[in-house]
Symmetry: C2
Subunit: 157 residues, 2 copies
DNA sequence: ACGACATACATGTCGTGACATGAAAAGGAG
DNA sequence: CTCCTTTTCATGTCACGACATGTATGTCGT
């Protein structure tokens, strides 16, 4: 098997494994990884239009994350409010329940990141990130992550 | 953003981007990445039972890849034959069309791996693979890849 | 032989992801 | 103001992935 092929499958396997672990942790609060990502983005950068959320979502680079938001609204975590100055837009805000959930998501994520820190002990994470960053630059998902980092830098809330 | 968090999203983004590129390349022959993986495994290691295929599939670590095979059968690429000595089992073999497609898949994959080789030029791929391998070891997807590598070693066809 | 258990596969369900399409609203050129 | 284009969002469709369940078939202890 070519090295590149092995790398491809390892990246796939790593993504699956991370998702699996996060799914287990998040099931305690009844959320999925995709939902938790959206929730955290709204918590950190809201109120947001649906398109703005979509521009920061790594997990869903489709046209827009309308259906993920559907479920968050159904769960009572997010409110859709039609925008005033542009009635095409929808303003997404967290309900009090949603804010509480977002905090719990942050705790769970930190658990996972602690585990990941252990797993990366002894490896050159900088080189790892540099490669992945180069590979994903210009891609939809990579752009989404870049947008998040830019928004964090601008307004570190 | 924590380094571990950035790493998580970069792995997700890399997986998505690789999948996106492969999807584009494979659309020329009417296959999806998941289907192409199954097809290649059957081509390399067939005839296989459904469970054996499942044990080598990185993309689908569910109970069994019954539905992916459904589509390959519907496309006329794979044949399901009931096993003789164990009527629970299904033997999966490629049709002549399937063998042809598998060759084309191999060509397309090599295109992608050439691109990936370019992208990894100048980085320590060994360290990358070592980390990902450690992280995915023991996970369902990582085990599947290990099974493939073991089968390749045993019978390098 | 027989009953309990295990294995192989198929299938129902849910939540993505990615893409295409359609409706509503805003913006811009004449 | 009017037509045309663009933007925003919702929705239909298809193919996963992951999990649970059900059925048929083997296997094993007794």
């Amino acid at each position: 098997m070519r090295t590149a092929e092995q790398l491809r499958y390892l990246i796939l396997a790593a993504q699956r494994e991370g998702n699996r672990q996060l799914t287990v942790l998040l099931s305690a609060i009844g959320l999925t990884p995709a939902q938790s990502e959206a929730l955290r983005i709204i918590a950190d950068h809201g109120p947001l239009a649906l398109r703005e959320l979509g521009d920061m979502l790594v997990c869903d680079t489709g046209t827009n994350p309308s259906r993920i938001v559907d479920r968050l609204v159904a769960a009572g975590l997010v409110e859709r409010t039609s925008s005033e100055h542009d009635r095409r837009q929808v303003k997404l805000t967290l309900t009090p329940t949603g804010q509480d959930k977002a905090l719990r998501v942050a705790e769970i994520e930190n658990q996972l990141y602690d585990l990941l820190d252990d797993a990366t002990a002894g490896t050159d994470v900088g080189a790892l990130i540099a490669f992945l960053d180069g590979f994903t630059r210009q891609s939809p998902a990579g752009t989404a992550l870049a947008n998040r980092l830019a928004a964090e830098k601008k307004q570190p809330d």
